[in-house]
């Protein structure tokens, strides 16, 4: 049994030893939602990501945004276990950005954000590119309606 009976000395020792986890006083729990939110916010700066989430998620997201409560975790699912995180992500890419590049950039941004802000190790970020957004899509639809 590992007894963590704290006396005065271990705390004093902890100042000298380079072991930050040697004498933890309390635990820090970062919930999945927080990690997902960090990931979602990190994606805002990634070029080539048009939207995050699948069709249904984005439809719900549009309603949410109308109610001015944007869900930053949309399209992102996170599993945290033993300070290790695995992330699954669904995005819509912009055309004509190379898809592998978008996925790599998104992955790098998420890993950097989670490891920096949450201090958790990211084991994997699986990216699913669900759709491609064509820039002139809206124009084309308008044109078709006009006929």
């Amino acid at each position: 049994m590992t007894s963590i009976t704290t006396t005065g000395s271990p705390i004093a020792d902890s100042h000298n030893a380079d072991l930050p986890g040697a004498t933890p006083r309390g635990t820090t729990v970062i919930s999945d939602v927080v990690v997902a939110k960090i990931a979602g916010l990190a994606l805002r700066d990634v070029a080539g990501v048009h939207a995050v989430g699948g069709g249904a998620a984005r439809a719900l997201g549009a309603i949410r945004e109308a109610l001015s409560s944007t869900d930053h975790t949309q399209g992102i699912s996170v599993q945290v276990s033993d300070a290790k995180v695995s992330v699954a992500l669904t995005i819509v890419a912009e055309y004509p950005v190379p898809l592998q590049q978008v996925a790599d950039d998104a992955r790098a941004a998420i890993i950097a954000a989670i490891e920096t802000l949450a201090g958790l190790e990211v084991t994997e970020v699986n990216v699913s590119i669900n759709d491609v957004h064509l820039p002139d899509e809206a124009d084309e639809a308008g044109e078709a309606d006009a006929r």
């Binding site: 898809l99 992955r107 084991t123 994997e124 699913s128 590119i129 899509e137 078709a144």
Partner: protein, 118 residues
């Protein structure tokens, strides 16, 4: 050092759904053929890990310079041939997928059968 941004230790995999792939191929094909993406239909088949693409476009949608060359001889290069090369190159560059082949089919030619009165 090269300026490559590819991660040395890739963490996780990337999946491109059929829908995304189809739309991308349609957009690339439309650009190559000079039509709108909505006018192109795309069929994909996988053969041994490589993609076989079939692109269908109505021939009347093609811009004049692409087709309708009424030259009687066979020396005029097929207007879809250059498009096939463009499509293959661009799709590979954008998706990283290996393309087995690209088929461009012109559709919508009017065929009038004689002797139909009704």
């Amino acid at each position: 050092m090269t300026g490559s941004t590819a991660p040395l230790d890739p963490r996780g995999h990337t999946r491109i759904t059929d829908r995304a792939m189809t739309r991308l191929v349609a957009a690339v094909s439309a650009e190559a053929l000079g039509v709108r993406p909505g006018q192109v239909s795309v069929d994909m088949a996988e053969a041994g890990g490589r993609l076989d693409l079939t692109v269908r476009v109505p021939s009347r949608a093609l811009p004049v310079e692409h087709g309708h060359t009424d030259a009687p001889d066979d020396t005029v290069p097929d207007p879809t041939e250059r498009a096939q090369h463009d499509i293959r190159g661009t799709v590979t560059a954008l998706t990283g997928a290996e393309i087995a082949g690209v088929t461009v089919r012109l559709t919508g030619s009017r065929i009038r059968l004689p002797g139909r009165s009704d």
